[in-house]
């Protein structure tokens, strides 16, 4: 069995952050029932010109492995049908703007009334409470509110937009909080309401800088530099737009790197002898290291540096990541089949477990309403006539 086998999730989440949360939980074995409607299909079922996708996606990472049912939540009977799914679920997850679930009759109190120990998750931009709770937001705004965007950037440049990695780290945090709430239920018999604010997740990733500011410090953008390491950065490699990341923490690592560069007497130079002097002469060091890396293939140099005990990795493009034997061996990258049989790379669940059935993606994107026989028929025991009546009134729609 997979670790979360037996857990069922009524999944009302939309966009990226919430669906990524339930995507992780589904890969860990939870049965996730994705609740959608033709009235308001999820983003991957329609074109997305902002990202250059002109038709529906044939495979959607965050929808894979989930079950799909249709419910028109705007109809009162739709909310009632959704509650029937919640009644047989352990978790209800949503990511609408605050108060939307209340308006639909699906707020925490309403769900608790049908399933007393339900764990309800709400993911939103600014949380369910406070003066900004009604703010709409997307990933780059979370990063801006939370300070991660302000601190990311070249020292003499503007802040930087943090993109979908921001959404997805919100989702991974939320998944962790949900499993914690399930442990709480197991220990106490009580459900709980979990409120995850995306901007707070962004802030949590710069906790040390916020603490520094609380002590009167002023953390600022530092590009690729590090306050305690030099050389530390991204250096040019041989070829067009090729780069390698290198980080030197100790004197021994510096000696190893200097030995590879084998510049006359570089390893002995006093101005680079310890961390303090290397930091003071970081610009000169960057020039020396960059001159050396510029003549090297990025991947070969990384291997050479690792063999010498220096932390280094080529700056990998997406195709390089997708082809990596290490990531494939770990099933961090997996091959999935499109409905027409085409094989493509997808991202697996970021962990390996020593026991139990293999975790990860085991089904592709569900068709809208693909699993209604199972959910409405087997799980809820609705008859064909009852289902037809709900379709006729556009509740199942």
């Amino acid at each position: 069995m997979k670790p979360l086998s037996g857990i069922r999730i009524a999944d009302f989440t939309v966009h990226n952050a919430g669906p990524f949360c339930t995507h992780l939980l589904s890969q860990l074995g939870a049965e996730v029932v994705k609740i959608e409607s033709a009235m308001r299909p999820d983003a991957f079922r329609k074109p997305h010109p902002v990202y250059g996708r002109m038709g529906p996606a044939t495979f959607d990472q965050v929808a894979s492995t989930k079950l799909s049912v249709r419910i028109n939540l705007k109809k009162p009977d739709g909310a009632e049908l959704a509650k029937k799914i919640v009644r047989i679920s352990d978790v209800a997850a949503e990511s609408f703007r605050p108060k939307v679930m209340d308006r639909l009759g699906l707020g925490y109190d309403a769900l608790k009334a049908v399933k007393d120990d339900i764990v309800m998750l709400s993911v939103s931009s600014s949380g369910q409470s406070g003066p900004d709770s009604h703010f709409a937001g997307y990933a780059p705004l979370f990063g801006a509110w939370g300070g991660l965007g302000e601190l990311t950037g070249y020292e003499d440049g503007p802040p930087v937009e943090i993109r979908h990695v921001m959404d997805h780290t919100v989702g991974m945090n939320a998944a962790t909080a949900v499993v914690a709430a399930l442990h709480h239920r197991r220990a106490t018999g009580r459900g709980s309401y979990v409120d995850v604010a995306a901007r707070e997740v962004a802030a949590s990733l710069i906790g040390e800088a916020l603490l520094l500011a609380a002590a009167g410090g002023e953390p600022k953008r530092i590009g690729n530099a590090h306050p305690g390491m030099a050389p530390h950065g991204v250096y040019p490699a041989k070829g067009e737009d090729r780069w390698i990341s290198i980080a030197v923490r100790t004197d021994a690592e510096w000696q190893a790197l200097a030995g590879l560069i084998s510049h006359n007497g570089l390893a002995e130079e006093q101005r680079f002898a310890n961390v303090a002097s290397r930091l003071a002469n970081a610009a000169e060091l960057d020039r020396i290291v960059g001159d050396w890396t510029a003549t090297k293939d990025a991947n070969e140099a990384a291997e050479q540096l690792q063999a010498a005990g220096v932390a280094a990795h080529a700056s990998w493009t997406t195709p390089e990541i997708a082809a990596d034997p290490h990531l494939h061996a770990r099933k961090a990258i997996v091959d999935v089949a499109e409905p027409d049989g085409t094989i493509r790379a997808a991202v697996g669940v970021p962990m390996r477990l020593s026991k139990g059935e293999e975790i990860g993606i085991h089904r592709g994107t569900p068709k809208l309403g693909e699993h209604e026989d199972y959910v409405y028929g087997e799980l809820l025991g609705l008859t064909k006539a009852e289902r037809q009546a709900l379709e006729d009134t556009e509740v199942i729609y």
Binding site: M1, P3, L24, V50, Q128, S129, D132, Y138, L141, A144, W145, G146, L148, L151, T152, G153, Y154, P158, P159, V160, H164, V165, H168, V179, H183, A187, Y193, S204, L205, I206, A209, L210, L211, A215, G217, E218, R221, I222, G223, V234, Y235, W243, I244, S245, A247, A311, A312, H313, A314, S315, T317, T318, L327, R330, I333, A345, V347, P350, M351, L353
Partner: protein, 379 residues
């Protein structure tokens, strides 16, 4: 009654890096009793910048808040016995000792499984404990460049201004913290199945976790397009320089664009009927941005954001850490709580991005002194 969901759980962490320590922090702030098993000289994280004052690490203070500390010198029998005693009472052990050093210290998967069959043993390393690169070293910058975003940033205004500069890492320990979050999730998931399968080994790689949160680039690859930091920028909006700082602007929906036109004062260029089409707006993005930037440059961020929010235009100020600390929203939410940090005094520290049952989580204390092991963790 505490709202912390993991009350009663015991976690031991041997962490010399951010990823393992962050996993432990997540579990600790959610209520687990957390003990750091440190070498006699303390974890290297105690000596990691940035510093609050001389020798007081802000990074360690943040990562270790609420924990206890126990010195376990694994070079000697006593230290090993101390760790073994801690582990015999623990539910979860988080460790980032390099794989090659584990067997000699009795920390390898098989030894720990034999001695502590019910323990969830979580290994947290840059490239994991298994696979051809398991022995590779990495700092955060290397993690970011091996996984997803490293090569893809910066985008937007920064890459427009500096197209020839090297790619740029996300600030701080973003890549390592992804490993930590995945480790916390893995630990709790394995623990969930303990009644059925007993303890087990959870192998976490920060690279895998960074890749997971960057999954969208892999999905785009499958669709036949390769993301690049120059081309992936939003066509218009994005980072907008104003008179007194920067704001973020992103209008993905039609009504948001209409709100933006009103916010701009309905200038003639924006009323061009062709711009009602979202694809046309994308095509003419640089032209739109010239107008938007010219308009914003003479106005203050808060003035624009306040007016824009009323028109449902998604806008946000790029906030500094000091601004976040005093933001009414964060104050209302109780995101920060004062704790004592030895050598630096009482400081507001970020607790956790989660509320349980309508309340923020409680932070027990600041970071422990080396070997500070209170018999009972104060509530």
């Amino acid at each position: 009654m505490s709202n912390a969901p993991l009350t009663g759980l015991r976690v031991v962490a041997r962490a010399s890096g951010v990823a393992a320590a962050y996993a432990a922090r997540l579990l600790g702030t959610m209520g687990a009793e957390l003990t750091l098993a440190e070498p006699p000289q303390g974890t290297p994280l105690r000596r990691e910048p940035p510093f609050l004052t001389d020798g007081v690490s802000a990074l360690f203070a943040y990562l270790a808040a609420g924990a206890r500390s126990r010195v376990c010198d694994l070079q000697g029998e006593d230290g090993r016995a101390t760790l073994a005693a801690l582990l015999s009472e623990a539910d979860i052990f988080i460790d980032d000792t390099p794989v090659v050093e584990r067997a000699a210290l009795g920390l390898d998967e098989a030894s720990l499984a034999a001695k502590h069959p019910d323990l969830v043993h979580v290994s947290v390393l840059p490239f994991g404990a298994y696979g051809p690169k398991a022995d590779w070293k990495a700092e955060d910058i290397n993690v970011q460049h091996s996984s997803s975003e490293g090569n893809l940033l910066p985008n937007g205004l920064a890459v427009e201004m500096f197209p020839d500069r090297p790619p740029l890492k996300i600030y701080g320990h973003f890549g390592e913290m992804q490993g930590g979050i995945a480790a916390a999730l893995g630990a709790l998931s394995a623990l969930w199945a303990r009644d059925e399968v007993g303890g087990q080994f959870v192998d976490i790689a920060s690279q895998d976790a960074g890749l997971a949160v960057g999954a969208f680039a892999i999905q785009r690859l499958g669709d036949g397009s390769i993301e690049h930091r120059v081309e992936r920028s939003f066509r218009y909006g994005g980072v907008i320089p104003c008179a007194d700082g920067y704001l973020e602007m992103l209008t993905l929906e039609q009504r948001q664009w209409e709100g933006l036109v009103k916010l701009l004062g309905e200038p003639e260029w924006a009323l061009d009927p062709a711009l009602e089409d979202s694809l046309e707006r994308s095509r003419r993005g640089p032209e739109l941005n010239r107008h938007i930037r010219e308009w914003a440059l003479t106005r203050n961020v808060d003035e624009i954001v306040e007016a824009g929010q009323k028109l449902s235009v998604p806008l946000a100020r790029y906030k500094t850490p000091a601004e976040i600390l005093r933001d009414p929203q964060e104050r209302h939410r109780g995101l920060f709580q004062p704790v004592e940090v030895d050598g630096a005094g009482m400081l507001d520290m970020l607790v956790s991005p989660f509320h349980f049952d309508g309340k923020p989580l409680p932070l027990r204390s600041g970071p422990p002194a080396l070997g500070e092991y209170r018999s009972k963790v104060e509530a």
